[in-house]
Amino acid sequence: MNRCAVVGIGQTRHAQKRTDVSIAGLCREAALRALEDAELTFRDIDAVVLGKAPDMFEGIMMPELYLADALGAVGKPMIRVHTAGSVGGSTALVAAHLVQAGVRKRVLAVAFEKQSESDAMWALSPKLPFQPPLMAGAGGYFAPIIRAYMKRSGAPDEVGMLVAVKDRLNALKNPYAHLQMPDITLDTVRASPMLWDPIRYLETCPSSDGACAVVLTDEDGGRRAARKPAWLWGAAMRSEPTMFSGRNLVDPRAGRDCAADLYAQAGITNPRQEIDVAELYVPFSWFEPMWLENLGFAEQNQGWRLTADGVTALDGDLPINPSGGVMSSNPIGASGLLRFAEAALQVRGLAGAHQVDGAKVAMGHAYGGGSQYFAMWIVGSEPR
């Protein structure tokens, strides 16, 4: 397999409503920043890979066709990726595979969501055939899983609030982040409305407009990169069915298998010691401790202790989501790619005020559907 490098990263300012731009304008804002970072132009790109969440969100069927022009993809291969909420991560991995396979030299991966032009709550609450209408958005699906984790682990109620505060304080150091809540405290989180008990309003992610783009190249491109590149050490995807007997929604098998594959590729045997920083897909605060266990950073039922002990804080031993994460910006389709891009920024030393000192190995993680799709990568400051 050929080496692959991340040589350009761009993202938009994420906000509740980006009425100043169309969807095409939003995607271009991210893509042009990624090209500028790489000191390349659309002319240099061999293929474009586009990801977003379900078309039903904005009601535009096959938006990749409409966006081909804006993304410089006319006359080039253009591939649409769709793996629900994990799609941003999968988009990066499809692009990476094109490079790793030696098929393309320079690939642009772009992912977006314009939630202000969509109704995600409606789109995620479909009338299923032969079923009573009970679903109330993603929160209604994930709240019982969080309750099961709380019961199983015995974690104190405060853990979800700690993550909610930590990620919003991290976001203050990220000029692109949607939520800017300097006054957030455990008390304001505790006092916020209980939407889907046990999930409070401030323990959920926002709805955002935003896009993210990365430029991936082969080894030669990485060696000649305008700025320090991030090197791909491992890339893995897994999925699992919606329903089967013994399915563990708190600790999904597909997530464990995906991480095992990823670590094997990257030569990592002890993720807690060998990974310096991780950007994990945490749309509800309790998913931080759950994923810490699923990804092998902690033993079963012990993930919350890392959060409670401050290990996952920006100045902790294993910072999780220094960018503020999904809890601070959630343009759904782009959220996974933002995790991957932020991990790459860390090992490039270009994360600005939320840079983790000396980060050499970083993980990007995304999940989607009913915890069915997983996409992950590990990037390093040096080739492996």
Partner: protein, 168 residues
């Protein structure tokens, strides 16, 4: 790029109303049809996998774990255990439900997968993991899980955690 020219005076078009209506015809298939016909008759049917012997409900005609056809129908009890739940205080559709309501994953006696359904006839604050609940049939039944109007407390002692911990 703005150059301060005439274009800046144009009011940007920000939206239009485009209602979308989707009408589906769903062919339920053989296994689901037996399940749905059962609901019309007031029976809850699952299917047992010949390899792992797990009982799947609703049945899909194949075991999702073993990938083999499932042909043995199993009639399940109307009583089950709440494995986990949430209390919903927000509606995606204003006329969907009276708030708050409790929705739970329920493993029926004899089944190895859970159904997601409504819990009523008990204050939401009293709903708990391990609670034993009984199906209450709707006055009018049809080929849908809506034939079960809701589940209510069965009046039995709670099930121990170990009995349902593999169904979270």
């Amino acid at each position: 790029m703005s150059d301060g020219g005439a274009d800046d005076k144009i009011e940007i078009v920000k939206g239009f109303i485009a209602p979308v209506r989707l009408r589906y015809t769903v062919n339920a298939g053989r296994a689901s049809s037996r399940f749905l016909r059962g609901l019309t008759e007031g029976r809850i049917l699952g299917q047992r996998c010949p390899v792992c012997h797990k009982v799947n409900v609703p049945p899909r005609g194949a075991c999702p774990t073993c990938g083999v056809p499932t042909e043995e129908d199993v009639q399940l009890g109307e009583v089950g255990t709440v494995t986990t739940f949430c209390i919903i205080n927000i509606n995606f559709d204003a006329k969907a439900r009276e708030l708050p309501y409790a929705a739970a994953s329920i493993v029926l006696d004899g089944a190895d997968t859970t159904l997601f359904h409504l819990i009523q006839e008990v204050p939401v604050a009293k709903v708990r993991m391990g609670m034993r609940v009984r199906a209450v049939w709707a006055a009018e039944r049809g080929p849908s899980l809506e034939s079960i109007d809701h589940f209510k407390p069965a009046g039995e002692p709670d099930a121990p955690y170990d009995s349902y911990k593999d169904h979270l």
